[in-house]
C-alpha cells in the first residue's frame, strides 16, 4: 500500500485533519482514568502492526505537511536548530540511525545505499536525492543534524553525557510544547526541567535521569507525554507565544470539540554509537476532541482525567483557562461505564 500524504496546514487556515485510520492509530496516552507524573518508560520500537510504536521512526499521512511547516518555521527563525561544536558527531550518528531505519521500515518511500563512506540517499515523498560522504559535513547542504531532521517528523534533542548528567547540547525544535531551545541549549537535565511543577520533589526526575544514563546501544525506549493545544498548531513556541496566545481564548462551547486538540508526544531514547550521546526524538501527534470521541473508551477516560487533574498540572500545561469548557464537552460522552485497561481503543 502506498501512503497518501495530506495536503494540509498547521497555521493560518489550519486545514490539518486526521483520516479515520489516523484517528484509530492515534497514540492515546492514558492507560487508566487518572493522571500523575511518573517514570512511564517502555521498550521501543515494538507494538501492534500499524500503531505508531511499530517502527523506530513512524511516518504517517502528515509527513510532507509537517516537513513544510518546519521549513516555514526555520526560515523565520534559524535558531530553532542549534548544535554546540562538540555535537557534530552525534548529528552524524542520528543521521545514520534515521536513514537506516527509514530505508528498512519504509522501503517504498526511502532508500539508502552505502559503499564505505560514500552514501546515496533517496527520499521519495520530499523528492530529495543526495550523494554525500559520511562524516564529511562539507558534502551536505547543511550540518548533519539539520539535514536529517528537515526530513523527519517531530523534534529532536541530542544530549551529551558528562558529570553523571545529560546536557541539552543540540537540537531541532519547531513543534514544542512551549519551551525554547535557544534558551535551554547547554542546560543539564535538572536545569531544563526546572519549570515543571511537582515532579522533582516526587523523585521523578532523579529516577528518570538514572534510567537514561543506563540506556545502551542494545535497547531503545519510549514514553508518552501530553498537553492540550488550541488549533492544530505545531509551533507552540515561547518565541511566538504573542502570536498564538490569543487563539487560546477563542474556545467556545460550540467550537471546543473541533478546535481543542489533545497533543501527544511520543518520546524515544537512543544511545548513539560513535558519540555515546543520547538522542531524544519527540514526535508530536494531534487529535481534536471531536475525533477522539469517535472512540468511546477514549472519550470517557479523557473526561475523567481532565476533570480530576491536579490544578498545578492544568496550569503548567496551559489549558486551565479552558478546562471547564473542555470537561463539560467531554461529559456528554461519559456514561460512567468502566474503561478497559491499556491505551488502545476497544
Amino acid at each position: 500500500m502506498t501512503m497518501q500524504f495530506n495536503d494540509e496546514t498547521f497555521r493560518g487556515d489550519y486545514t490539518f485533519h486526521n483520516s479515520p485510520e489516523a484517528i484509530r492509530r492515534f497514540p492515546f496516552p492514558f492507560d487508566r482514568d487518572s493522571y500523575a507524573y511518573s517514570v512511564n518508560i517502555e521498550q521501543h520500537p515494538g507494538g501492534p502492526a500499524g500503531s505508531p510504536f511499530e517502527f523506530a521512526f513512524d511516518v504517517d499521512e502528515h509527513y510532507v505537511a509537517e516537513m513544510n511547516d518546519r521549513a516555514i518555521t526555520l526560515a523565520d527563525d534559524p535558531m530553532r536548530c542549534q548544535s554546540l561544536p562538540h555535537m557534530e558527531l552525534a548529528g552524524w550518528d542520528l543521521l545514520e540511525l534515521i536513514m537506516v531505519s527509514k530505508a528498512r521500515d519504509y522501503p517504498e518511500l526511502f532508500s539508502l545505499s552505502r559503499d564505505g563512506t560514500s552514501w546515496h540517499w533517496i527520499n521519495k515523498p520530499l523528492g530529495i536525492e543526495q550523494r554525500f560522504t559520511f562524516l564529511d559535513a562539507t558534502t551536505l547542504p547543511c550540518g548533519p543534524l539539520e539535514y536529517i531532521t528537515r526530513q523527519a517528523q517531530g523534534d529532536f534533542a541530542l544530549l551529551h553525557e558528562r558529570e553523571g548528567n545529560l546536557w541539552l547540547d543540540a537540537g531541532m525544535i519547531t513543534s514544542q510544547a512551549d519551551w525554547s531551545l535557544d534558551f535551554d541549549v547547554g542546560m543539564n537535565f535538572f536545569e531544563w526541567h526546572a519549570p515543571v511543577p511537582k515532579a522533582r520533589k516526587m523523585g521523578v526526575f532523579d529516577k528518570a535521569l538514572k534510567f537514561l544514563l543506563a540506556v545502551t546501544q542494545e535497547q531503545s525506549y519510549r514514553r508518552l507525554n501530553w498537553t492540550m493545544t488550541v488549533n492544530p498548531r505545531l509551533d507552540t513556541s515561547p518565541e511566538n507565544y504573542h502570536k498564538w496566545g490569543p487563539e487560546k481564548r477563542t474556545i467556545t462551547p460550540e467550537n471546543v470539540g473541533a478546535k481543542q486538540f489533545l497533543r501527544v508526544e511520543l518520546q524515544t531514547f537512543w544511545r548513539l554509537p560513535r558519540s555515546n550521546a543520547l538522542a531524544f526524538p519527540i514526535r508530536c501527534y494531534l487529535c481534536s476532541l471531536e475525533d477522539l470521541a469517535s472512540q468511546p473508551k477514549w472519550a470517557r477516560r479523557l473526561h475523567r482525567v481532565l476533570r480530576d487533574i491536579d490544578p498545578d498540572l492544568a496550569e503548567y500545561k496551559g489549558f486551565a483557562v479552558n478546562q471547564e469548557m473542555i470537561v463539560k464537552y467531554l461529559a456528554q460522552f461519559d456514561d460512567g461505564a468502566e474503561t478497559s485497561p491499556g491505551i488502545f481503543p476497544d
Binding site: F183, F190, A194
Partner: protein, 200 residues
C-alpha cells in the same frame, strides 16, 4: 552591603554561595562597585589569595579602585562596563592555565556575563565562585526578539528592544547568563498585571 540571600527557587536559577579563598593560586577576580566589598572580605580572610590574582573592576568608583589596590593584587584593571571589559577578560582567560580560580562578585548581570564567557573559554564551572552584592536587578533576555535588557527591577517590564511587556521568569540560562522574559499579555493583549518590584 552584605551578601544577598535569595529566596528558594527552581533548579535552573543560580545561587551564589559566596567567595572562599583557594589560597595563593592563579586567580581572576571580577567585581563591580558593590562586589568589591566581597573581594575585600575575601582578602581579609586570607591575604595570600591576592598574590597571583588579576582583579578586574567594572564601573567602580576611584575610591573603590584605591581600596582594591591596597590589597596588592598581582594586577588591577578597570573598565567602565561589561562590554568594555570583555576583551581584557577574554585575554586573561586565554592566557590562563588549569588551576586558575575565577572569583565573581556583584550584580547577577555581572556574574552571569562572566560565567558564560569563562565557561565558553573552557573553564569548568567548579572553578568559578560567586557572591552576590548590591542591587538585585536582573539581566533579562526577551524570548521573542532575543534582545537583552540589563538591570531589570520590576515585573513585568518593557523589553528595551521590541517593546513587548514581559513577565520575569526564574528560568535562567548559564550559557547566555540571562533570565527569560516572556510576553505577559500574549493571550489577552493589553491585560497587564500591576507592576511590582522583583524580590531577591
Amino acid at each position: 552591603m552584605p551578601k544577598t540571600v535569595f529566596s528558594p527557587s527552581i533548579d535552573s536559577r543560580p545561587t551564589y554561595p559566596g567567595l572562599v579563598s583557594q589560597g595563593a593560586v592563579p586567580g581572576i577576580m571580577v567585581a563591580d562597585d558593590a562586589g568589591a566589598a566581597a573581594l575585600i572580605d575575601l582578602a581579609t580572610s586570607d591575604a595570600s589569595v591576592m598574590d597571583r590574582a588579576h582583579v578586574l573592576l567594572i564601573g567602580g568608583a576611584e575610591t573603590t579602585a584605591t581600596r582594591l589596590g591596597n590589597l596588592t593584587p598581582k594586577a588591577l584593571h578597570s573598565a567602565p562596563d561589561l562590554e568594555a571589559a570583555a576583551p581584557l577578560f577574554d585575554s586573561l582567560l586565554l592566557d590562563a592555565r588549569m588551576g586558575t580560580q575565577l572569583y565573581l562578585a556583584g550584580s547577577e548581570g555581572l556574574i552571569g556575563f562572566a560565567t558564560a564567557r569563562a565557561t565558553a573559554a573552557g573553564l569548568p564551572l567548579d572553578a568559578i565562585q560567586s557572591e552576590h552584592r548590591g542591587p538585585i536587578g536582573r539581566r533579562m533576555k526577551c524570548v521573542h526578539c532575543k534582545g537583552i535588557t540589563e538591570d531589570v527591577l520590576t515585573d513585568p517590564f518593557t523589553c528595551s528592544h521590541c517593546g513587548l511587556t514581559l513577565f520575569v521568569r526564574d528560568h535562567f540560562s548559564r550559557r547566555l547568563g540571562v533570565f527569560q522574559g516572556v510576553c505577559v499579555d500574549a493571550e489577552t493583549p493589553g491585560d497587564i498585571p500591576e507592576t511590582v518590584e522583583i524580590r531577591a
